[in-house]
């Protein structure tokens, strides 16, 4: 029987939730990196024992951690198990060096002036689909870095910031590359999303990038509502069988594109609010998507105090509320952009974490939900591994 491993990043450490394919009885390990902010933990698709974690702190900055045994032990890359054997052996990793390529340049600041780029932290790590030693890191201030040595060293793909980076502007949460999608059918195509820069695509492995924001409308955030860049894209998602179809949760609006981002169409339909953060796609139904509506940009909690996942089986427009097992009164948590994921089993499992520290799981495509854990620190990210 398969094993499901849910990797949870929180405000005060990482947790690993494990169950068999029935997804009823869960074991919990952690906190890993206790007391540190864990923005993201993700496993390699080609080596599920290989995990990467982004560990950071307002005091001590950025650390990259790596596990080669599914999260039982961790090292900063560059500190091999052999190097660490015996007393007196210390971690030798220096994997936290994220230096912008060339002159750092400037971007738009809150007051409209230009402000120098400054590295703050890694928001998201996306391991390669083919090589466990290759991964991409989306960072704040917004940029993308790549490692090809298992996280020991990182180099910026600086072409992204040439895509009108001087017009990108931080939102309330900062200015970061928070989403990286690798095209499983074209290894040279990568999508990223930036708050608040928009969505971007490379077709040459990361050397050059172009904005893909046509069709986005941001009348309350931008002086030019359909500007080429500057939109506050919260999340994009794709199904591996149709990587040219993308779904987007923007600051306001849920959208889709059927041509790799060349043109977007709003599909918010009958959602009670089209503001929100995460969006994800069913593992086996490319037109089935999930969002968690949030009341507004001013009030980051579910409408009416009811935590509802909304599912569309038609790729948008028509949405149904999924409430079975979720709190339907007095619930005022948020679900952050990287805090929803799906497993690969049939029926498909859906998982999401809240700023109140709950991680909910559904083993039936969203029809019913159960809390796996209730009292973690605020959840920043949720990823799922489906192990044979």
């Amino acid at each position: 029987m398969s094993t499901i491993r849910v990797l949870v990043g929180t405000k005060k450490g990482a947790f690993i939730l494990t169950a068999d394919g029935l997804r009823k009885n869960w074991s919990v390990t952690g906190p890993h990196f206790a007391g540190w902010e864990i923005y993201h933990v993700k496993g390699s698709p080609v080596d599920p024992h290989r995990l990467y974690a982004s560990q950071s702190s307002g005091w001590f900055g950025q650390i990259i951690q790596r596990s080669d045994d599914g999260g039982r032990t961790w090292n900063t890359p560059g500190s091999s198990a052999e190097e660490l054997k015996g007393p007196g052996e210390f971690p030798k990793g220096e994997s936290n060096k994220f230096v912008y390529s060339g002159a750092a340049g400037t971007h738009k600041w809150y007051d409209g002036s230009q402000h120098p780029w400054e590295f703050k932290r890694v928001w998201h790590i996306e391991p390669s689909l083919t090589d466990p030693d290759t991964a991409y890191a989306g960072v704040e201030d917004a940029a993308i870095f790549k490692t090809t040595d298992g996280g020991k060293t990182w180099q910026e793909l600086s072409g992204l910031r040439q895509a009108k980076g001087h017009l990108w502007q931080p939102g309330a949460g900062g200015m970061a590359v928070h989403t990286i999608l690798l095209d499983p059918q074209n290894e040279r195509r990568i999508y990223v999303a930036i708050s608040a820069g928009g969505a971007f695509r490379t077709d040459d492995g990361g050397q050059t990038w172009k904005p893909i924001n046509r069709g986005l409308q941001s009348p309350y955030e931008l002086p030019d509502p359909d500007a080429e860049v500057g939109h506050c894209v919260h999340r994009i998602a794709l199904h591996p069988s149709r990587p040219e179809v993308l779904y987007m949760q923007k600051h306001w609006d849920v959208l889709r594109t059927d041509n790799a981002g060349d043109q977007w169409t709003e599909v918010s339909g009958n959602l009670p609010s089209d503001f929100g953060f995460p969006i994800d796609v069913h593992a086996h139904e490319p037109e089935t998507i999930y969002v968690v509506p949030i009341k507004s940009d001013a009030e980051h909690y579910p409408p009416d105090g009811k935590l509802r996942v909304y599912r569309s089986r038609t790729g948008g427009h028509d949405w149904e509320a999924l409430t079975n097992g979720l709190p339907q009164k007095d619930c005022y948590v948020n679900v952050l952009r990287d805090a929803m994921a799906v497993d690969q089993l049939d029926p498909c499992g859906i998982y999401f974490g809240t700023t109140g520290g709950q991680v909910y799981g559904s083993a039936d495509g969203g029809n019913s939900w159960n809390p796996i854990v209730r009292d973690l620190p605020a959840v920043y990210s949720v990823e799922v591994q489906t192990l044979p």
Partner: protein
């Protein structure tokens, strides 16, 4: 020998218990102590001072002999009592909420 005291999270990161004893070549300054510390524990690079600029991170403080050395020039010689190990050199996470 200089005795360096690390904050809790950096002790865990570097996997050390208690103080870090360091032999510092040449004049014992804040900069020289940090050089020796990072040479022995490369995992600490970037956590106390920035990569490249070597500027102290904003929420890091240096204390010695009941004095705040955080804003002293990095090449200022440390007190003799720190250099001879009678007093420790403390690297501290600044008071801040969270």
């Amino acid at each position: 020998m200089i005795r360096v005291v690390l904050p809790y999270h950096l002790r865990n990161l570097a996997r050390v218990d208690g103080e870090v004893p360091l032999d510092v070549a040449g004049p014992a300054t804040v900069s020289a102590v940090l050089e020796a510390l990072e040479a022995r524990h490369p995992v600490l690079r970037g956590t106390i001072r920035d990569h490249g600029t070597l500027k102290r991170r904003p929420f890091i403080r240096f204390f010695a002999c009941k004095e705040d050395w955080s804003s002293e020039a990095p090449e200022t010689p440390l007190p003799d009592t720190v250099v001879n190990g009678a007093e420790p050199f403390l690297i501290v996470g600044a008071m801040a909420g969270g």
